[in-house]
Each structure stands twice: as structure tokens, then as C-alpha cells.
Symmetry: C2
Subunit: 570 residues, 2 copies
């Protein structure tokens, strides 16, 4: 989250630099890990070694409580879900609960686009924030390399005789890059004559959108990782049979490249709470939660694990419940839904594009008009049988009247608990009330259940998500979608959960529709299998898998002094 | 170097696994560095922190002796230059000289192509060899990201109004990838309509061929790095003026991405000698030596620094002498030229492609016929005024008669010292004779001088290298070369040294010509400025800047066990 330099608070980077960090081995020691369990990256970053992971998962069967952080439909600026996750972990520790945090790791490329990091903010950050936002421990780089190794093995197979009879125009494995570089979305490759192979259309996706990212985030160990890699579909042959990573002999090499990346990263927050920062699929184009292995290890080591799912209940949270919890045999004990006065006013505006300046002014009526978005997210989460507590992430410009209106609405109209959160400005102290309400919620009887059974037909599963979560009247299939579904059913891939690819700007598939849109139909344009991840991806609307840079890229404002001090990053 | 499993020796990987490694802080301690000077990557890899670099460079002015390792024109299998470098460093320590090693770090992509690592071999390896050959400390990944950040900033500038009036078909900054992926050599990008920008031809080069790699390897600190990045030319405007990285506002962000990569990596050899493994430009398409900063630091910390230049005297060594030593104000005190019986027989064969099986059989006459290649390399090195010692890297199948023929030839016909090297099979012990001869050579009076002055005209400099080093009769300019030279002279870029891009398979520009080709003319097809690196690149023949995978890629034979044990990598 970008800092507000008008508020008189130091910038995120200044706060981060002012914190005296402990050695990471000392940070994790109270949770039963020691220095030998860690592969150090300097003094403040580490990866948890494979044998420590195995030991942790075997030792304890009495998992801690799992608290999921999600949000309402955000403004393009973000409403502070990561800051809430980090602050809440700190707050739990302040009220005497041993708590750990698990969040996604940032993608490097997007850091250079729109200004703003992904390591929390203010006094609720994970540190060292500049490293975490840049190369960190190299996981994204490993994924990019592994993805592109598959790509080159595929094209090389085609060039060297194509024994598998791969249909050149039916390849399903683009190339990947961790950079916002829109001109690579649609390309023609293999030009230059016979020596370079067969010319064909291809494109690049962001590394975070690679199936390998999903695979890494769902694997429960190295053997499972390898099995998942092996079964990824990269193309079809002329008879329509799937061609996998294993068929092109790339399983071993790809798994080797991902070996270290599978190990969760551990860092500390501004208050010294250990945080697992591992895996980073986007929630609009992928499943949107940090690695399952980090969640499993962290929940075995703590009384409370606070974990985050990307974007709203319609995206990260829905996928966490229907995909991740199903695969990992996990049950959230409580959910906190991050709301902000700004986002409520945004939904209360009836215009597109929004008037961002107006969001700064007090406007209680606009806040109230935005409730329909908040309410829909609350109802969505309740459908999974999990208690919900609303967290109002307070920004400096929010007035008491606005904040109180939200809390009053939750308690009176929705009958659920709500708390103001000031973790950005006050650290864990600012989240104590929220933490206490979540303890109460988590200790109540959660009746968690996914929303659909995987053995339902593909169309039923898509329609359940569309109608129950998005609020659509139904689903229309365009492009190749109907044919895809038929073929996937014939191939026996119909028993997997669904990973929807949908805009995060709206509960609907139209980015310009705010609130809780009604009287609309979800348009699905393509369905394809992510057999390594174990789900089917359904594409809706125009979801970009490779963003571009804006007119004024954040990169243009960055600098570094001869002594290594960075500026303009946040 | 790949192991020879027929020789009864364990594989490189087995040897590497059998060595009990010390903590890297203990390894460097005898050389005046301590744990606080290191940024650890686990227990056995580290980067030297910026302040330790500065302190080292300030503290000592009494540099140690500098020994350069280069080679004759190799077979496609390689003749063991890295193994000699590593073994020689160990040998110096065995004879009581405090010695350090500096070599290039491997490029990840090519590891998946032709089998064979780049971390030495046998009992003269740098460890942990599997990490060094894979992601290592992420330098190559940082370079790839930084390179592609420039690319996207360039295309984004064009798309967002093109205020600099960049000529879209006169861009000079391709994209980069660290993967042997031939179909990316020539591409069309920006397809898909107006939203994605302007369609244009583009291509990818290997990261090792990026000017940023050269920049990283020639910068003497962070400030110099930033200045070099700023002045890199990425395109020309419609009036023919150069457009730099600084013009497109990418200097700060790119330097931020390279901050950590600038810090030299330190590891240990099989015998615990500290080795700087940093920077990896290829010597055929780039300047081919490890980072200047590693050389400078290491030579300040040691009595003897053994450093390696890629390929033969015509490539890495020529560039080390004419470019790196000039920029770094360094003087090699002695050079060892790595020869092998295999390579001599290869040059003694009069056929193309070579009969590789025949190289295994004893053939003293073929060895003798190969001397003309060896002799030319010796004469080349002597032109720089530096004493030369030939090192015969012994392979298991070499006979005594063959090896003795080589040594006898050097001593009697060439009047220089030569020694058999058995560092692959015996570690430092196998290089003691070589080390002793190099001590004698290095203590003699070296009269080092680069081969040309930078203020000579561009064509003079190219012709000096072509005739004096390659043995050509002269130079012909094709394609845009003459026009390039005229333009570069007009732009004032004519006072830089030359970095030739030439095949390593031959002293000439024709890969099929062995020995010391005569009666030929060098063909230069293009000359372009690497203003960040500070040299002009002259392209000759068909030098691939992005290799492809072979019919049987090494990747296809790689595997990993559930416990993380790798196989098939070497």
C-alpha cells in the first residue's frame, strides 16, 4: 500500500528502515524452529528446509486456528488487505496468542508499473520490504525459468521431428515473463528460416499466471510437485490427445528448477512476528492464495494463522474455500472481510471511471450507498458456513462519522461483528479489537463446507459460482467454451474444481459495474484444464494475463544512491 | 567439464557431494574477510557486501600477482580451462602461496542444452556445483529482469506518445532470456491491435550476451554501474540521435535491480580455496571474462589471483588484455595456455565435422599436426608482452607419448615452459609443477601492453585484431558495417576498444577451419556501440546470440528424488 505523505507519517520505506530487525533464526525460535531448519538469505530472509517442513507436518496434528483475510471489491488503489493481515498477526501476538502470518510474495514485474508494494504498509509491514518486493529469494525467477524451459522443450520437440505428432497450432503453453510488457501478449515466433524452427503464433503471460505458480502453491512436497509438473498439459496432438510435460521429457529438469522455490520463505514483520511469504498467484487470473505448504506448516506451528486471499470474496476467498481448503483438507475458523470507507464511497459513486478526488471528502451517504457491495461479500462468505467479522481499515482522511456508519451497519443490519483497524498507523495495537472479535468468532462452531461438489458437471460448477457468488442470473458460453467443456468431459477432466478468471474491479465480469450488479449474465469464453494444479480455468470477459506499463511507470521515479539507498520504490 | 565414467573416477556430482564443505565465513577468514563482510546464501555461498568491497579496494595498493588462464581453440567438448583455473588456485595454495580464484558464473539456460557444467570438474570444482550451475545467487535472473525492464520501458515510451521521436524500426535493444530457445531469435511483437502498442520486428538474445552483463562485469562500483547503465543506447530517433536508458527514465530502476548482482559471489573449491564466481559474459558474443570488481578485490586480498578468460587467445584473452586490463588498470603477470592432446588431434584432423571417436585413439602424428593451432595462440599471447606457460590438461585416455610430445615441442620449438596438469584427477597436487613454473614466470619481468591504442580509427583497431591475432590477410566490410563505422565516428564513439563477436570453433571466422588458417579475409557485417560497457561490438560471420537445444537436450536426462537429490545434471 502506498504511504500517505500528507498524513505526517513517515513513508513505508522510512518506517521499514527505522526498524531494528532481529536475526531471522531468533524470530522463528519461539515457534519451535531453529537455525538449522533455515537456509539463510542474509540475516533477515530464509527458506525453511525440506526436512524441517516434513518434521513440522509430521510432529503436530493439532492444527491451530485458521483466520482468512479477504476484502470487498476494492478501488484500483487497494484497501489494505495485506496490511490488515500483517497487523492482525501482530495483534494476536499482543493479546497473547501465538500467531503466524502467511501472505503471497510480490511479483517483481508489476512493481515497475503502478506505484505501490505488496508487503503491507505503515507499521504493519513484512521486512525487508525492498528485498521482498524485488528479487526476494528468487522464487518468481525460478518459476519464470521453469516455465520457459517447458516452452523451449516443446518447440524443440516440434523442430526435432515432432515424434509426438503435436498439432503446431494447438499448443497450450505460452512463454512467461515477470515484467509488465504488453507488446509480448501476442507475438509470432520462429521466424528467420528453417534453422529456427516452425513459425507460429505465441504469446507471453505474467509468471504469476503460469500454471507452474499454481502447482507450486498447491504441492504438499517435492514428490507431489514433481507429479503435478509431469501431468501439466502443454499441447494436443493431431488426434486431440493431451501432450504433457512428461511426454516432452521435461519433468525432472523443471522440478529441479523449482526445488528451492518450493521451500517457504520466512521473514519478520515490523513488530517481529514471523511471516511466511510464499507463492504469488494473482486472484483474478489464477487461484490467488499463498502456498498451501506455507499454510500447513504455519498452522502446525501456531495457535493462530492469519492467511490472505487475493481481491474479494468473489475471487481469492471463493478459490481458497473451493480449491485450496479442499485440496489441503483445511477449514477456516473465521474470516475477516476488509472494508474501507474509500471503497464504500467508490461503490456509492454512480460513474465510471470513478472520481478519485471525491473519495477523499466526507460523504456518509455515499458510504451507505456502497453497502450493497459489502453486504454481498458478507453473504458470499456466510454461504461457506464460516463466521465473518468486518474489518474497517482506517485511512487518515476517514471521518469518525463514516467509520461508525459502517460498524453500525454491520452490527445492526447484518448482525455480525465489525471493528475499526488502525494497524497501518499503530501496528498490532491498532488491531487488538479486531483480533479479540476474531478469537471469539474462531472459537465458535464453524460449519465450513465448499460450495459445490467436484463430481457435478462442469457447467453446474461454473453456474454455482456465477449465481451464488457473483450474483449473475446465469451463464452464457461463447467462443470455444461449449466445445471445450464437451471435450474436457470426454477426456475425463470434468471432476476438478473451477478456477474462474474474472476482473477484480466488479463482482460481475464487467469492470465498470460497481456495487452488487443484478440482471446480468456471466460470459465464459474458454475453459481449459490446469491438470498440474488440478483445476479447470474458465475465462470470462477480458482478463489480461500480461499487463502493460502506465503512462507514468513507477520505474521512472525510482533511484538509488551510491551507498545503495533506494528511493521512489514506495 | 563432463566426467568420464569409463575412467573409474566418480562423477563430478559424486565428488562434489563427498566433499565436507566449510562454512563460507571460515573459508574466507584467512584472506582478511569475516562473516560481517558477507551476505550469506545458505552456509556455502555468499556475496561480498558493498562496504567490504570498498574497504578492500582502499586498504591495499600492493596487488598480488595476476595469472590469466586461456586456451587453444577447443573441441566442441571443451578442454578444461575452468578445471585448470580451479586446480591451479589449489596448487598455488599447496606450494605456500595465498591464492584466490576468479571465474565466470554459469548461465542457467545453456545447462539444459549440451550436457556439461561450468564449475570445473573432478577434484578441481567450485562448490556447491549444482547450485552454481542453477540459480546460484540470482545474478543472471537479475540481469534478465533488468534487461527486459529496459525493453518494456522502451516500447512503453513508444506507445505512450513517443515524445522522444524514436524510430520504431531503429530500436537497438532486443529482449533477453536465459534459456536456449531458438524460436525467440526472430519474432514479431505488439500484435493484437492498438491496445498492445506498435507491431514491430524484435528478437531475444541470451542474457549472457546482454550489454548489461558487460556493464556489470566492467563496473567498479555502484555509482559507476549507474553511470554505465544511464548511457546505454537503446534506439535512435528519427534524426539519427542516440536514445539512451537515461532518456527513457529507466536508469534508477535498472540499477536497483542490479544492486545485489554487482556484489561478487564467493564459494569454495573442493580443497577449500575461496573462489570468486561472478559475471558470465560469453567470449564469442561478448567480452568473456568474470567481473572486474571480483578481479580487483581478489587480487588485493591474495598473493596470486588465478582468473579465467573464455575460449582461446583470440577471444577471451584478447578481450581481457585489450579491454578489461585497460579499463581496470591491471597487468597480467603470466598467462597459462590450456592445451589438450584431444584438441591437438582435433586440429590435426583434416575433416569437418570432426571424427570424435578418433580423438580417443593414440595418434602422435595427429598431435604434431595440431601444433600450428597451439603455436599461433602462444605467439598471440606473447604479442602482449606477457610470459606464457603451456598447461597440458591430461585426460584419462591420453598416452605418455602424446603428452611428452607436446611438452617437448613447447620447450624445444617454442622455447617456453610447459607442464602436464592432472588437477581433474588429483586436485591441487596435480597442478604443483604448473604452479611452480607460473611463479617463476610471474616473477620475471612482464612487459604488458595492449595491442592497439583506442584513439586509432575503428577500422585500424579491427584490422589489428584480425591480422595480428586471427591471422587474417585483412578485413572486408559487408551489410551495414561501413555505414555503421562512419556513423559511429561522426557520433564520436570511435575512441573505444573493440569487442569482436566471432566463432570460437576456429581462429578464423569460419567454424570449420582448424589449425591456424591462412589466406583468408575477416568479414565484418555490423558494428554497434556498447556505450555502457564502453566498447564497440563488431559482428563477424554467423555468431548466434541465442542458441537452440540439441536433438537430445541435457534437460531430458535430468531427474530429482523426493529427498532433493539431483541426477543427470552432470
Amino acid at each position: 500500500m502506498p504511504s500517505d505523505s500528507d498524513s505526517g507519517m513517515p513513508t513505508d520505506y522510512e518506517i521499514a528502515q527505522s526498524v531494528e530487525k532481529d536475526h531471522i533464526a531468533d524470530v522463528v525460535e519461539p515457534f519451535g524452529l531453529d537455525g538449522d531448519d533455515l537456509e539463510l538469505f542474509g540475516e533477515h530472509k530464509a527458506k525453511l528446509k525440506l526436512d524441517a517442513i516434513e518434521r513440522t507436518l509430521e510432529e503436530s496434528e493439532d492444527d491451530g486456528k485458521l483466520v482468512l483475510v479477504t476484502g470487498m471489491t476494492p478501488t484500483p488503489l487497494g484497501e489494505g488487505k495485506t496490511v490488515t493481515t500483517v497487523g492482525l498477526g501482530q495483534a494476536f501476538n499482543q493479546i497473547g496468542k501465538d500467531a503466524l502470518i502467511a501472505i503471497r510474495e510480490p511479483s517483481l514485474g508489476p512493481v515497475f508499473g503502478v506505484k505501490g508494494g505488496a508487503a503491507g504498509g505503515g507499521y504493519s509491514q513484512v521486512l525487508p520490504m525492498e528485498d521482498i518486493n524485488l528479487h526476494f529469494t528468487g522464487d518468481l525467477h525460478a518459476l519464470t525459468s521453469a516455465h520457459n524451459l517447458i516452452s523451449t522443450m516443446l518447440d524443440n520437440h516440434i523442430k526435432q521431428g515432432n515424434d509426438l505428432d503435436i498439432a503446431v497450432n494447438w499448443t497450450k503453453w505460452p512463454r512467461a515473463i515477470d515484467m509488465n510488457d504488453r507488446v509480448l501478449r501476442e507475438t509470432v515466433i520462429g521466424l528467420g528460416g528453417e534453422v529456427t524452427g516452425i513459425p507460429r503464433e505465441d504469446g507471453f503471460i505474467l509468471t504469476a499466471a503460469s500454471e507452474l505458480m499454481a502447482v507450486l502453491c498447491l504441492a504438499d512436497g517435492l514428490e507431489d510437485l514433481k507429479n503435478r509438473v509431469a501431468r501439466i498439459i502443454v499441447a494436443y496432438d493431431e488426434d486431440g490427445n493431451a501432450v504433457t510435460v512428461d511426454d516432452i521429457d521435461a519433468t525432472g529438469a523443471v522440478t529441479i528448477l523449482l526445488r528451492d522455490a518450493l521451500q517457504p520463505n520466512v521473514v519478520q514483520t515490523t513488530e517481529g512476528t514471523p511471516a511466511f511469504v510464499h507463492g504469488g498467484p494473482f486472484a483474478n487470473i489464477a487461484h490467488g492464495t499463498n502456498s498451501l505448504i506455507a499454510d500447513e506448516v504455519a498452522s502446525n506451528l501456531s495457535e493462530y494463522l492469519v492467511t490472505e486471499a487475493g481481491f474479494g470474496s468473489d475471487l481469492g476467498a471463493e478459490k481458497f474455500m473451493n480449491i485450496v481448503c479442499r485440496f489441503g483438507d483445511m477449514e477456516p475458523d473465521a474470516v475477516t472481510l476488509v472494508a474501507s470507507v474509500r471503497a464504500l464511497k467508490y461503490h456509492g459513486q454512480d460513474m465510471w471511471p470513478p472520481d478519485v478526488d471525491a473519495l477523499e471528502e466526507e460523504d456518509v451517504d455515499a458510504v451507505k450507498r456502497g453497502f450493497e457491495n459489502l453486504d454481498k461479500h458478507v453473504r458470499n462468505l456466510q454461504k461457506f458456513g464460516v463466521p465473518v467479522v468486518v474489518s474497517v481499515n482506517r485511512f487518515p482522511q476517514d471521518t469518525d462519522a463514516e467509520v461508525e456508519t459502517v460498524i453500525e451497519h454491520c452490527e445492526s443490519d447484518l448482525g455480525i461483528q465489525a471493528a475499526e483497524s488502525n494497524v497501518f498507523s499503530d501496528g498490532g495495537e491498532g488491531g487488538v479489537e479486531l483480533a479479540e472479535e476474531l478469537v471469539e468468532a474462531a472459537e465458535s462452531d464453524s460449519q465450513f463446507e465448499p460450495l459445490y461438489d467436484t463430481d457435478q458437471p462442469i457447467t453446474d460448477k461454473i453456474e454455482t459460482i456465477a449465481t451464488e457468488i457473483y450474483g449473475a442470473d446465469g451463464v452464457e458460453y461463447h467462443g470455444s467454451a461449449e466445445e471445450d467443456i464437451e471435450r474436457l468431459t470426454d477426456l475425463g477432466f470434468d471432476d476438478m474444481p473451477i478456477c474462474m478468471s474474472k476482473t477484480f474491479h466488479s463482482l460481475s465480469d464487467d469492470a465498470s459495474r460497481k456495487g452488487a450488479p443484478e440482471d446480468w449474465t456471466l460470459e465464459v469464453t474458454e475453459v481449459y484444464p490446469s491438470t498440474g494444479a488440478g483445476f479447470l480455468v474458465a475465462l470470462t470477459g477480458d482478463v489480461l494475463t500480461l499487463p502493460g506499463l502506465p503512462e507514468e511507470p513507477a520505474a521512472a521515479g525510482m533511484d538509488i544512491d551510491p551507498d545503495g539507498t533506494i528511493s521512489g520504490l514506495f
